[in-house]
Symmetry: C2
Subunit: 203 residues, 2 copies
């Protein structure tokens, strides 16, 4: 069959990406299937390879879409979360992962093959989340701190990420942890306090 005119190339790319993102949210990375995406979109599996070049590229784009939604979730939490912005950040980080565990997990389960770097747009989309956190961390640290704030912020993110992935993967359930968000927030506060942060009072 020849070209169809149901969609422009841009529309088709968006359709496959949106349909793929929807499927990922339903079944998760291990059960994700390119054939099912194509079928739901009303195309054939070969079209995915024509539009994206590879299944990996579609998966990378889906994960970038997830990052974008996650950053928006975080911004929303900061807007509505009250004065303790660090607590809002931690709740926002967890909130998305707990609300969308299959999408969240897929970010870390799918690995972009070596030699196939992410596009600049993908890298920028993924860095947005880190940028938000850096900004908030810088705001609560003393202005004259000697700390590499960007690096410190990334480390705090990694710390919260560890708690988060234990929850999503079920490890914490096995270990009888009942308030992982609280634990994560305590660790973040302890590190911030150590560097002179004027955050909400410790409990």
């Amino acid at each position: 069959m020849g070209r169809r005119s149901d969609h422009t190339p841009g529309e088709l790319r968006e359709l496959l990406l949106a349909t793929g993102h929807q499927l990922m949210g339903e079944v998760g990375y291990p059960r994700f299937s390119g054939r099912e995406v194509a079928k739901r979109a009303g195309y054939s599996v070969g079209t995915i390879y024509n539009v994206f070049g590879s299944l990996d590229a579609l998966l990378a784009a889906i994960n970038t879409r997830t990052f974008t939604q996650w950053a928006a979730w975080l911004r929303q939490e900061l807007e509505t979360g009250g004065e303790d912005r660090i607590a809002s950040l931690v709740r926002g980080y967890f909130g998305f992962a707990l609300a969308r565990p299959l999408l969240w997990s897929a970010i870390y389960e799918h690995k972009v093959p070596e030699g196939e770097g992410l596009s600049d747009a993908d890298l920028e989309g993924r860095a947005a989340l880190t940028g938000i956190v850096e900004q908030e961390v810088a705001a609560v640290l003393p202005p004259d701190t000697a700390l590499d704030v960007a690096r410190f912020a990334r480390s705090l993110i990694a710390s919260v990420h560890g708690h988060c992935s234990y929850v999503v993967s079920g490890s914490f359930a096995l270990l009888d942890e009942t308030d992982p968000v609280g634990s994560a927030l305590e660790r973040v506060r302890e590190s911030l306090a150590h560097h002179g942060a004027k955050s909400a009072p410790m409990l």
Copy 2:
């Protein structure tokens, strides 16, 4: 074909488990194949289902084997790592993951299906690692601390785990983090210091 006498049932189970563990270390969870395990062991794929009941059960046993090796690695690092035992713990945690990234990742990539809990032996094997850390954390905290030490230790593990998984997954490489072990150790020290731990001097 009927029964063979090349191996006792116990030997066969150990052969399939050891061969599977070897394969996991080589190819990682996404490319793991039960057929290849059986082939390397000199049996047919159906034998795996006869011995383990399901591929998931073999995978769970492989991951328990990895936990056991990881706990041994940690103990070894504590024995040789010098006076700063907290630093040894963090280096030990990372060391195994960096030396055996595919085995380490498989622990978190493979999910035991719901309704199929782990055996007591598996749970015990997996808890050994946590037990080591709890012990060391308890040793550096004041004897009269009000902290729930087990919970606190788990939270520190989660924090280090976050840093570790960023390294193994390549996220930190994307973010130009050059000393993730150092970052993780700093966060652990900050939290321990906050609760009155007499650990090695902060830099």
